[in-house]
């Protein structure tokens, strides 16, 4: 029965080993899982044992099922190890691994239950060799990887991963054939009751385990060993010297760090290893003294190759009964630290040059003492001091103490926290000149001091522009008086859109005084500032702009204005602002409105009495012969004709007004040109007869249809016809010709009168223009202007051709009806295809 106890011992040892690994590897996931696996393995062994050797009171199927289940989970363990290992390297997501593991585990169990995976044991001591081999393969993989990983973790506290030694791997395999129920069964199968073999194998395995434990320093036996092991695992070394610093023993990574073997250093003075202070004094050889206490310092140790290696050396006296008998020096690889120092140094250097080379003048001073700690080159250049002169002053010495700036002593803000502020100050340069600067200051912790970093913005450049303004605007009183005498508003702004000039007219119009607006944002003058901004942009872009804007007076009242703005330049050609002239057009708009209203009221008021006048005169003129004396009749005719002219004038003025303001209503409909012209001619016949002029129609189109307001076209035709009749010599004829142009219809009215004088031609269609300068022909001087406007409203054109004393032709071209035109065009387009 001894192998039963050995089997239990194996399990216990496995558990101890697992626990040790867990402790050593700082409770990592891997070690915990390894422990869990060992526990499972032990449980597996126990259940197999019980299933092979039935125990009274336990149903035989129960351990068998447990054993089968755990056996089936072997691939699961393996897989989990694999995945954990992989997670370390290629980051398998844990959910993926868990799903894979449980799926595989359950599948494996099902396969075992179905008999597809051989089970190495059977109730009643028999064993299947195929099942055993299967088990062996799984176990060897499982153990190899598990132990390899554990070793990798425990055996190395750094990031390096070392491989287990070959002997270690061999021992692992050996462990697999340690006394277990299976090895027992196997031995039982090949050697009938060969307990002796079993004991031999078990002893070999135990020896291997002990060797494993000690040779890999996993289990600490003594504190000394523990320190040694710890040192060995780290990149540190320990040198033990006697009281005269002569090396007695060396432990640890001295070989990998310095290239020495511990033996060759024995007996040499420790000081020989230290690289002496170099020319720059950067590395010091520590004067080892026999009275020294605990010391730690950076040193450069000479390696066997002759190069020096940065090492952090800690030296501690080693006492026996209060007497120093030797020293222990622990050396640590200082290369990382040196690298970090170098990086920090570089960074510092970068910031230093950022400070030093910055074009913004800046300095750093002590918050309490006001003494300068550092000052950059730009500040030296600006103020004209040398660095030593600068550093010998304190920050208050720069200030010009006039009434305005004394209150702004730097650093007076006593808030304990960090602060940042910007203020304007006057500073005196070395040569005594005063500059205006804007200081941005910020509190900084610097080497444990509370310091203030001040960055200086020299406003002199800005002052220069301001001075240019002064030169441009104020210094020249002549220009000033011109600006002020302008009836237009003149407003200038600088590049920040602050008002720099505001003339008298602007003051009157806006109600602001000059002092109120100078320096203000120009937006205060706009009712809708967002409409004013584009002015600025387009002036910058194009050099000038003209726009109608809505302004706001000081009283809040808004008014429209027309603004013309252009860029202002200084003598070097650089843009310094914008000059705008502006006119309040509210009175103009009001005037326009009043004019319209006036015309409409007056015309209406004139027309009412004219209505009764005309009607009365007409009735009178038709009175029987005997009721009016014949010599009075011409007077009646004059009255009738004059009131007729008056009526036409009023009508024309009203029409003109409506056309100009766009109030004229056009009722377009389809009109046949021929019929319409015929109608016009018929209406004009009486006038023709009166002047002894006959009218002819020459229609060459076949009554084409156009889309117009017939009343308006009649008005145009009446105008043209009455002009033609009036200017025709008696007995002559006026011809109206309608012809077809592509897409439009042309109506020509030709007379053979004196024609239009050369010099009058350009003004024919102007208002109140009459070639003969009076109204003896009974015209108002508005007729052709009205015609032109009506025709243009109908998208047509009007013009004339005149040969003096031969003929004069006025023509109107009107577009054809849209659909007809479109149809024709379509047909034209289709033809080529």
């Amino acid at each position: 029965m001894i192998y039963h106890y050995i089997s239990i011992a194996y399990t216990v040892i496995s558990l101890v080993l697992a626990t040790t690994l867990v402790v050593r590897s700082k409770h990592g996931v891997l070690s915990r899982f390894y422990a869990f696996c060992v526990v499972m393995l032990a449980l597996f062994g126990a259940s197999v044992y019980v299933s092979v050797h039935p125990v009274e009171g336990i149903p035989h199927w129960l351990p068998e099922r447990i054993a089968q289940f755990l056996y089936a989970l072997l691939p699961f363990f393996f897989l989990h190890f694999m995945l954990i290992f992989l997670r370390k390297t290629i980051l398998v997501r844990s959910t993926t691994s868990i799903i894979a593991i449980y799926t595989t585990g359950m599948a494996s169990f099902v396969l075992v239950l179905l008999g597809l995976i051989p089970v190495p044991f059977e109730a009643g001591s028999s064993i299947r060799i195929s099942g055993y081999i299967y088990y062996l393969v799984w176990m060897s993989i499982y153990f190899s990887i598990g132990m390899a990983l554990s070793y990798a973790m425990v055996g190395n506290f750094g990031e390096k991963r070392s491989k287990p030694k070959r002997t270690f791997r061999f021992l692992l395999v050996l462990m697999l054939i340690l006394p277990t129920p299976f090895t027992l069964s196997l031995f039982n199968a090949i050697t009938p009751r060969g307990d002796g073999w079993y004991v031999v194998a078990a002893l070999i395995a135990l020896t291997g385990m002990v060797y494993l434990v000690f040779s890999h320093r996993v289990v600490m036996t003594t504190p000394y060993q523990a320190v040694r092991t710890a040192v060995a695992l780290m990149n540190d070394f320990i040198i033990r010297t006697d009281s005269h610093f002569r090396i007695q023993s060396v432990e640890g990574a001295i070989g990998s760090l310095l290239g020495y073997s511990p033996a060759e250093l024995q007996g040499r003075p420790l000081g020989d290893l230290i690289k002496k202070r170099d020319a720059n004094g950067h590395y010091t050889a520590h004067p080892f003294s026999e009275t020294m206490t605990d010391t730690s310092f950076d040193a450069r140790l000479l390696a066997s190759s002759g190069l020096s290696v940065p090492i952090v050396l800690s030296v501690t006296p080693f006492r026996v009964a209060e007497k120093i008998v030797g020293f222990i020096a622990v050396g640590r690889d200082g290369r990382d630290r040196e690298r970090a120092d170098t990086a920090r140094f570089k960074q510092e250097k970068m910031f230093r040059s950022l400070f030093e080379e910055n074009s913004t003048p800046m300095w750093l001073y002590d918050r309490e003492a006001y003494a300068f700690l550092a000052v950059n080159r730009a500040a030296l250049t600006l103020y004209g001091y040398s660095i030593s002169e600068f550093l010998s002053m304190d920050v208050r010495d720069l200030l010009v103490r006039d009434g305005a700036t004394t209150a702004e002593e730097p650093g007076k803000a006593d808030d304990p926290g960090h602060f940042s502020e910007t203020l304007e100050q006057k500073h005196r340069k070395r040569d005594g000149s005063v500059i205006t600067i804007s200081v941005t200051r910020r509190e900084l912790e610097f080497g444990g001091h509370r310091t203030i970093l001040e960055m200086v913005d020299d406003l002199t450049e800005q002052r220069r522009i301001e001075r240019a303004w002064t030169d441009l605007v104020t210094a020249n009183e002549f220009a000033r008086s011109i600006i002020n005498s302008s009836s237009d508003m003149i407003i200038a702004v600088d590049m920040q859109r602050r008002i720099t000039e505001f003339n008298k007219a602007a003051q009157r119009t806006f109600g602001y005084t000059r002092d109120e607006v100078i320096g203000q944002q120009v937006d205060i003058l706009y009712a809708e500032p967002e409409r004013g901004r584009p002015v600025h942009e387009s002036v910058i872009r194009d050099g000038q702009a003209s726009i109608q804007v809505i302004n706001r007076r000081k009283s809040g009242e808004v008014f429209p204005s027309i603004l013309s703005a252009s860029a202002l330049h200084d003598t070097t050609g650089a843009m310094i602002g914008i000059m705008g002239t502006s006119q309040d057009i509210s009175y103009r708009q009001e005037l326009d409105r009043m004019k319209s209203e006036f015309i409409s009221i007056v015309s209406h008021e004139i027309r009412t009495p004219l209505t009764s006048l005309l009607a009365s005169l007409e009735i009178l003129s038709e009175a029987p012969e005997d009721q009016i004396a014949p010599d009075l009749r011409p007077l009646l005719a004059i009255a009738a004709e004059s009131s007729d002219v008056l009526m036409r004038l009023v009508n024309d003025i009203l029409d003109m007004e409506k056309l100009e303001t766009g109030k004229m209503v056009f009722r377009n409909e389809t009109v046949h040109v021929g019929s319409m012209v015929k109608g016009s001619i018929t209406t004009m016949q009486p006038l023709g007869r009166k002047h002894g002029v006959s009218l002819f129609l020459d229609d060459r189109t076949g009554d084409r249809a156009i889309e117009v307001d017939p009343d308006r076209i009649q008005q145009v035709l009446h105008n043209l016809l009455s002009n033609a009749i009036k200017f025709s010599p008696a007995g002559d004829c006026v011809t109206v010709r309608i012809s077809d142009l592509s897409g439009s219809v042309r109506i020509e009215v030709t007379d053979h009168g004196p024609g239009i004088p050369e010099e009058f031609r350009p003004r024919v269609f102007e208002k109140f223009s009459q070639a003969d300068g009076n109204t003896k022909k009974g015209g108002t001087g508005l007729g052709l202007q009205i015609c032109k406007r009506i025709v243009e409203r109908l998208n047509g054109s009007i013009g004339f051709e005149s040969l003096p004393d031969e003929r004069t032709t006025f023509f109107v071209e009107l577009p054809e009806r849209q659909d007809e035109y479109a149809e024709k065009k379509e047909q034209a387009n289709e033809q080529p295809q």
């Binding site: 409409s600 015309s603 209406h604 027309r607 009412t608 009495p609 004219l610 209505t611 009764s612 005309l614 009607a615 009365s616 007409e618 009735i619 038709e622 009721q627 009526m647 009508n651 009203l654 409506k658 209503v665």
Partner: protein, 142 residues
């Protein structure tokens, strides 16, 4: 007290009694001179003429008196304008088929549309030619 001027204007020498001697024309016109010219013209043509110079009185007349054979309405009137009077006429059963001629100012072309929509039979733009107006009236009451 409504200013109601009702005149028999056949006193002028013209003695050509028109076919509808007893026919009455109602004129609503605020300008006294135009009103007089219209009265004169129509009276000479043999019409009985009743005139009103404001919309209020004309409105009352529409409610109270029997319908005339024709109404001449100015558009712009004190109190109640011509369009409103026209609508009143068209609402009143006894009056609603009376022909109405609107007198409109030339500048108020919108009024023409409004008047025709409200049921006017014809319109005459001021200044009107007396002969033309008479011809239109004759056509409407024929």
């Amino acid at each position: 007290m409504p200013k109601r001027k009702s005149k028999q204007t056949n006193s002028h020498n013209k003695q050509s009694p028109a076919p509808g001697q007893s026919e009455t024309v109602l004129i609503v016109e605020d300008d006294a001179h135009i009103s007089y010219v219209l009265q004169f013209m129509l009276g000479r043509e043999g019409f009985q003429v009743v005139t009103f110079d404001n919309g209020l009185d004309a409105g009352k007349a529409i409610e109270d008196v029997p319908p005339p054979c024709l109404v001449l309405l100015d558009v712009m009137l004190p109190h109640e304008d011509g369009i409103q009077l026209l609508q009143r006429i068209r609402r009143k059963e006894t009056w609603n088929d009376v022909p109405v001629v609107m007198l409109t100012a030339r500048s108020q072309e919108k009024d023409v549309t409004k008047a025709l929509e409200a049921g006017a039979n014809d319109y005459v733009l001021k200044p009107f030619r007396p002969a033309e107006l008479v011809a239109r009236i004759r056509r409407l009451i024929a």
